[in-house]
Symmetry: C2
Subunit: 315 residues, 2 copies
């Protein structure tokens, strides 16, 4: 099971290949939210999201034989770009399975990073089965988006850095899709401060983790329509779910309107471009979802790869 | 004349009231520009621009009697917001003279910060005379946008921080309007590294500093139409011009198209919202205006306060 030593090892492995992203504050946000908030800017990370951390850690941990075979990943976006970039830098062939309705900017960026893109139909095909089939046919190594301890350890480095910069936080919030970012960040945060509260944040319309925690087992929900296109998974990960059960103090949910309002605030007040999925944790703070006794809050702004067309529509 | 001791003193005075803004890098930008570029993110500064540095330094240096009388400033935008915010925090009444065509976002922000706004016609009235008249009638202390050593020393703290974070730069670039940011940054940079090259950057359509340096005296140009609304001054400052003569290795100019292209790159690739004026120094690097022997480049991203309507138009 994921532990702090694996996250420390990941940090050693990837440090020279990623940005140590800044932590920023905004008195305007603090006034609006009634909290003291510290934003970990993974939207300023390489390839525009935290995903490069896990992908780099995984690829650098492959054997030489595995590297020669090449890698495959399935992703609605940021994981794809991360695997493509980390693969190119490690000299490893990368194939990416993406849904036909993935944002154009993400498809283009994935190709720019040198990966081959293969499309599947999100409504009809199971992406994991599709990618596993690809892996088998072409002899590739799967780089999963979250259900892999090297991936989780890589994402955890983001929490490690945040707690180093701001040790005395009452809680930390991370957007939650498959749960990899949350599991990594919460593991690192608890190791630094055993009493810190940890909250995954989901779109209200894509609350598979909330439903699963309530039921005590992994629940599958219908394909969510949320504007947070990076958080449209239908079921928590196999590896991540027990970690979420162990680490989450509660699951917070936000509406599309709350996400959009926060995205605009982050852009026009704080000058940070954050994608819809990346703004969910901030949206939970802004819309008052935290307990009142929580004062000092760490928020992961997890990514900034928004489609220009969608951005114009939201503004 | 402005010197490094005044900038050091300013830093002591204002440190607790401003952000130490991050310096970020982007391999994508480096590849596109063929340089190694370090961006000082003053768009992430309080009130959205470097201007809070000078305004805070000036206001904290007033006598108690001056503070009781109140302050007045003229500005097309960022200086106004900075004076309004610094004034409110120091408990000083602030009156701001703004052009009738100032971006709505900047007028609204200035009022939100608690200042009173008085409008003048940019085509018909001289803003400095208008503000001086206001100051006299109401007994207020003028907080000029650049022709004041406390203001210049405050802006210089931005260069001080950049050179502390990245000491081995070949050159530093700053957007140039009245010349206050450039004079401050170049003074700090030269003190840290006597051989560093310093470049003010102007819109091609608002090149009063370039023309003035060529002629050896301050030249007045017609009201510029450049999209860089913060750089529409018609003549370099009285105090700043001799500093620019002493410190500028050359003046670089950029077109509106080069500014817009760079603004889009900064937003979509680097996830930073930078206003048109604030992107000019980056635009000069991106569009190849630097000598080829310059490798390590410091760029001030001076502000991020763009009108939402203008942003949507540019996207």
């Amino acid at each position: 099971m994921l532990n702090i030593d694996m996250i420390q090892a990941a940090r050693e492995r990837i440090a020279s290949r990623i940005h140590r992203t800044p932590v920023v504050t905004s008195r305007q946000f603090n006034e609006a939210a009634g909290k003291e908030v510290f934003f970990k800017c993974e939207n300023l990370q390489r390839a525009g999201a935290f995903k490069i951390r896990g992908a780099t850690n995984k690829i650098l941990s492959l054997t030489d034989e595995e590297k020669r075979r090449g890698i495959v990943a399935f992703s609605s976006g940021n994981h794809a770009q991360a695997v493509a970039l980390a693969g190119r830098e490690a000299g490893v062939r990368a194939l990416i399975a993406m849904p036909t309705d993935a944002p154009q900017a993400k498809v283009a960026a994935t190709r720019e990073y040198g990966a081959e893109v293969v499309f599947y139909d999100r409504q009809k095909q199971d992406r994991e089965a599709f990618a596993l089939d690809l892996a088998e046919r072409e002899g590739l190594v799967m780089v999963p988006p979250y259900d892999d301890e090297y991936i989780l350890a890589g994402q955890g480095t983001c929490g490690l850095e945040l707690l180093e910069d701001v040790p005395d936080l009452d809680c930390v919030l991370a957007p939650c899709s498959g749960g990899g970012l949350f599991a990594g960040v919460a593991t690192a945060a608890r190791a630094a401060n055993p009493s810190i509260r940890c909250y995954p944040v989901e779109p209200a319309d894509g609350d598979d983790t909330l439903q699963s925690l309530r039921k005590g087992e992994r629940v599958t929900i219908p394909p969510p329509a949320t504007i947070a296109d990076g958080l449209r998974v239908q079921i928590p990960g196999r590896l991540t779910f027990p970690l979420t059960q162990k680490l989450a103090d509660d699951v917070l949910t936000v509406s599309d309107d709350e996400i959009i309002e926060t995205l605009r605030f982050l852009l026009f007040r704080m000058k940070l471009l954050v994608e819809t999925s990346g703004a969910t944790a901030a949206a939970a703070v802004m819309s008052g979802k935290l307990p009142t006794d929580v004062k000092r809050v760490g928020v992961i702004l997890s990514g900034g790869n928004i489609d220009p067309g969608l951005l114009v529509k939201l503004l």
